[in-house]
């Protein structure tokens, strides 16, 4: 073996990649050639230098950039991920928030009509005033409903219909409510019983019962006449709760002396040719529903501002000929 041939095997020798025969021949040469021995040592030192090179390190944030590049999720998915991940944490919180909002909406939805209903129970007159107005929008439907009202199946149908109406927040809600008012008025027994019994409950409790009634009654068929009557009685409950027809204008009036303000209001309404439809008072405030002619509304609003701090919550630009106004008077 020449020195050149021997040195060609140095790499393989260092890496222990020589065959047995090659290795033996090389070893024999190295044993007799000092130059190749020194050269082998320098070769080993060179490789040792290379292997001592500090490993390179990827720059900070490299993994994140790779993940972003490798999985470029479309923006809706990234948004959803941001909203819901980690789902074990965010999902329960969001579900709780949804339930909370739903409960709040139901409560608020029920609260105001409930107060209006309380006013109605105390004052017998508005029923008369309300009936013609409520009957006007849907004469054909109400006549059909009146005709079929006693049948148990009809009670179920009404129940479903009322559930739909009460959960509907679109523009025809008012018409549906008016129709329900008429239905209730056309069925005096259950309503009268309720009035006579003086069943005025706190809003949350009643709304809870109403929901229960809807859930349990809607799918079940009454089995007897008594059940049918009971079902109809229960079916009549939702419109009683939701009997309030939304006023055209509503708002709060904060006054110093509520009794004086109520008296002044009554005088004002009378002077402007209007009529006070309902009034209910409780320790914290009063609800007054009244109707005045459209041409008198501007004057009414001016005078109202003199009575106290008038904060309208609903005051459309277009008003009907007869403006229905709901006032919440506190003070």
């Amino acid at each position: 073996m020449t020195c050149h041939e021997a040195r060609e095997l140095f790499s393989a020798l260092i890496d222990d990649a020589l065959g047995g025969e090659e290795r033996a021949v090389l070893d024999a040469h190295l044993a007799t050639c000092a130059d190749c021995g020194r050269e082998l040592q320098r070769f080993r030192d060179t490789v040792a230098l290379l292997r001592a090179v500090e490993p390179a390190r990827a720059p900070a944030g490299f993994v994140d950039r790779v993940l972003e590049a490798a999985r470029p999720a479309p923006w809706p998915r990234r948004l959803l991920r941001a909203l819901f991940l980690p789902w074990p944490v965010k999902l329960p919180v969001e579900a709780a928030a949804v339930v909370l909002v739903a409960v709040g909406v139901v409560y608020l939805y029920q609260a105001t009509p409930e107060l209006q209903q309380a006013a109605r129970l105390e004052s017998p007159a508005p029923t008369v005033a309300e009936a013609p107005r409520a009957a006007t929008p849907q004469p054909s439907e109400t006549s059909i409903e009146k005709k079929d009202a006693p049948a148990p199946s009809r009670a179920r149908a009404e129940n479903v219909q009322r559930s739909t109406a009460s959960s509907d927040t679109s523009g025809d809600t008012e018409q549906r409510r008016d129709r329900q008012n008429f239905q209730r008025d056309a069925e005096p027994a259950p309503s009268a019983g309720m009035v006579a019994g003086g069943k005025t409950e706190a809003p949350p409790a009643r709304s809870g019962r109403v929901l229960d009634t809807r859930e349990s009654q809607a799918p079940a068929a009454p089995e007897s006449a008594a059940d049918a009557l009971k079902a109809r009685k229960q079916a009549s409950t939702p419109p009683a709760v939701a009997s309030f027809a939304s006023p055209d204008v509503s708002g709060g009036l904060a006054v110093n002396d509520r009794d004086a303000a109520l008296r002044a209001l009554a005088e004002l309404v009378a002077r402007l040719g209007g009529v006070e439809d309902r009034r209910v008072s409780w320790p914290e405030g009063s609800i007054v529903e009244l109707t005045i002619p459209r041409e008198a509304y501007a004057e009414f609003a001016r005078q109202l501002a003199r009575l106290g701090r008038w904060q309208p919550t609903r005051e459309p630009a277009e008003l009907p000929a007869r403006v229905r106004i709901g006032l919440r008077i506190t003070g």
Partner: protein
């Protein structure tokens, strides 16, 4: 995770099963090695990062095609090596044109303290010597002496005969020995 080459069978199983965290684990485990190969081959950290990212993106897209008859690490080195060589071959850039700037930057981490001056000089010389190797030899010596791959793994990654790997490695080391003469004891 960041050792030379470990047992990746579990990671491969998770990748095949579509475990969303598996790919992230793969990147974490191999980021420095893939980046290191790219850096030694291309010389520029920015370019190396760009290429290393491309390697992982390709791996992500082709993970279903990984047959498992080679080691996961070998597969990664295969992709990294090919991309490096392709980029070097296709672009007009050459390490020599990067000049002193790149080589100085590579060694600059240790340049400031006086005590490390000598080491810095050695490192600069080392990187320069590696950078000046012909590409086909450079990739072999990088995979063998810097990344620790076996001859067989290098042959598989570069699709070369074992004898070719052996001879290229030897030529590369001989070049380096001459260039690093003054640093040898």
């Amino acid at each position: 995770m960041e050792g030379r080459i470990g047992d990746d069978s579990h990671l491969v199983d998770r990748l095949r099963q579509g475990d969303p965290r598996a790919f992230e684990d793969l990147v974490i485990a191999y980021q420095h090695r893939v980046f290191g190969v790219a850096l030694r081959m291309l010389g520029s950290r920015a370019e190396a990062e760009d290429l290393a990212q491309e390697v992982f993106v390709r791996v992500h897209g082709a993970i279903a095609e990984f047959r498992g008859d080679a080691k996961l690490s070998t597969w990664l080195y295969t992709i990294a090596s090919r991309l490096c060589l392709n980029r070097l071959a296709s672009s007009e850039r050459r390490m020599v044109r990067e000049g002193e700037e790149t080589l100085t930057r590579l060694a600059s981490r240790h340049a400031s303290p006086a005590a490390e001056l000598e080491r810095s000089e050695l490192e600069t010389a080392l990187h320069r010597a590696i950078a000046e190797l012909p590409e086909e030899r450079r990739i072999v010596v990088v995979l063998r002496d810097l990344e620790g791959l076996s001859y067989e793994e290098i042959a598989a990654a570069l699709e070369l005969e074992l004898g070719t790997v052996r001879s290229r490695l030897h030529r590369a080391r001989m070049d380096l020995r001459e260039k690093l003469e003054r640093f040898l004891p």
